[in-house]
């Protein structure tokens, strides 16, 4: 079961506060990095929701975020809708896509589920790639950021936008945590733990999985909306399956099934990338070795390992 433990709260707040501080003090470049971390963190939280708590390891979350980004970009840049309407539409589009994928794949498990989500993600990629009205493989520019000038915020400022993205991370985390503690979330965890028994207890498992996947997709969609506003540009590259692979890496580095871990994982990956690419252009090599080591060391991830050690200590203290 999911409990919003003090350790989770402290971790989330400390990381987000540190990133906010970094964005404020570090100038333009720091702001860019923080936005990158925030987008990745939202995606990773949404993936952890289905993978860590629902057992559905998706390789199409990058594509889902891409659908959100393209819907937002298309509606604002091409159709002239305002940011608010476009946001709602983009979230609805990703939730609908997620509902279809979730419903269709609900009875598939293990590697077949991974492959099926890969197929749906690649389908979305190819469609976007070939859709000339959306710019095809050139992508689409002309996206604009939210207009908060009414309350005196200039979102085109690097710091302002970075802080806004961190706020969205916090909201997404809180929503995911709230849902995981609700009846719906607990049932999802039950399905993950023992799908057959849940069925024998009278649950329509596929319906539950489909809705969970849809909800997770909606969260992923919000990452896509921010990504589109970040670069003011969308391209099919957002939807390639390797992006989804990178999100999965973030979840694993932070800690699968911890919800707070993915935020740590996103910060870790982006900073690591930054550091390594100062020395060598071959940062993939380092990330790859890091990933292999992380999985082979037990796969709990950075945050997951800390949580595990503290829990074990608490148990042995209680027994003593």
């Amino acid at each position: 079961m999911f409990y919003q433990t003090p350790l989770k709260s402290v971790t989330v707040i400390v990381i987000l506060a540190a990133l906010a501080l970094y964005a404020i003090l570090g100038g333009y470049f720091a702001g860019e990095i923080v936005v990158e971390i925030a987008v990745l963190a939202i995606l990773a939280i949404s993936l952890d929701f289905v993978a860590g708590y629902g057992g559905m390891v998706s390789l199409c979350h990058g594509a889902i975020a891409g659908i959100g980004a393209y819907t937002f970009a298309g509606l604002t840049a091409l159709a002239g809708f305002d940011g608010f309407t476009a946001t709602l539409a983009a979230l609805a589009a990703t939730a609908a896509f997620g509902l279809v994928v979730g419903a269709v794949t609900a009875n598939i498990s293990g590697i077949f589920f991974i492959m099926a989500t890969l197929a749906f993600g690649q389908m979305a990629y190819v469609v976007v790639f070939e859709w000339k009205a959306l710019g095809g493989d050139d992508g689409m520019s002309g996206v604009s950021r939210y207009d908060f000038s009414a309350i005196g915020l200039n979102m085109n400022g690097s710091v302002e936008f970075a802080l806004f993205c961190l706020l969205v991370v916090l909201i997404v985390y809180a929503v995911a945590a709230y849902v995981l503690r609700s009846s719906f979330g607990r049932t999802l965890i039950g399905v993950h733990s023992n799908e057959d028994r849940m069925r024998a207890l009278g649950l329509s498992v596929w319906k539950h999985k489909a809705v969970a996947f849809s909800f997770s997709s909606l969260l992923a969609g919000s990452a896509g909306i921010l990504a589109a506003q970040h670069t003011l540009f969308v391209s099919p590259e957002l939807l390639v399956w390797t992006v989804s692979g990178e999100v999965l890496i973030v979840v694993i580095l932070g800690g699968l099934g911890t919800l707070a871990g993915p935020i740590a994982g996103a910060a870790l990956l982006v900073f690591l990338k930054q550091q390594v690419s100062d020395y060598t252009e071959h940062w993939h090599l380092v990330i790859g070795l890091f990933l292999i080591a992380a999985v082979m060391a037990g796969g709990r991830g950075v945050y997951g390992q800390v949580e595990h050690v503290l829990q074990r200590k608490a148990r042995s203290d209680a027994n003593a």
Partner: protein
Amino acid sequence: MVADADFWLTQFLNGMQLSMLLFLLSIGLTIIFGLMHFVNLAHGALYMVGAYVGVSAAASLGNFWLALIAAPLAVTIVGIFLYVAVIRRMRRAGPMNQVLVTFGLIFVLVDLVRILWGDIALGMEQPAILSGPAEIFGVSYPAYRLFIIAVGLVVMVALSLVLSRTQIGAMVRAGVENDAMASCLGINVERLFFAVFCVGCALAGLAGAVAAPVFSATPSMATDILIPTLIVVVIGGLGSLGGAIVGSLIIGFIQTFGAVVLPGFASVLVYVLLAIVLIAKPAGLLPARS
């Protein structure tokens, strides 16, 4: 009309050529998959290594045929290293961890290749004897591409014979069908897996070297070939030779003819097909386990 027939025959041969390359890759992957439930995303990276080794060997030895031997050998050695260092320990780690570790291996192998050979595409000379066009049913078609088809067919026939006629083939089939039963029968499943893994690596290396003169060696071939290969494996059915053959032909021909008939949406067709198979027949078209 004659020109039309020629056109379609050429497309057919293109489809065959792509199918055979996919077959060389997917057969190793599918047997490893079926025998040990191991998901090796780095299989495409081994294909890339094969292509680069082929290019270098052909250039330094000055002989295409020696390169064709050197590439599978080198890739097998790389594979053995990966097996000992990583794969053996990840056997029972579950699909997600296997996906992640082998995803990491792709990163590592691709960057190592970029460090050793650089970022640019490297070409490879075709052997003189195969460099010209050949006449087949009145159509002029590059001889080297016919050679690729021939290599695929030879491997296909050889593997069918090994799997159906030899003792090791029987052991592999038993292992795919029921590994617990196979180990009860006294088959050393671990050693069998290792042997099959090596053969799979060698075939991936061979495919890379054979493909290099046509497509050149590039770092992106590691991931470009991976997805179609995985699709072949899943559509065909894990662990089945027949499935790999049927899957390779289906994907090879859909991609080739789709590109002609429905330009742009050929790959959508492939993914739609994959989704349909996964939903309607999750075990694939010709599953090894009944």
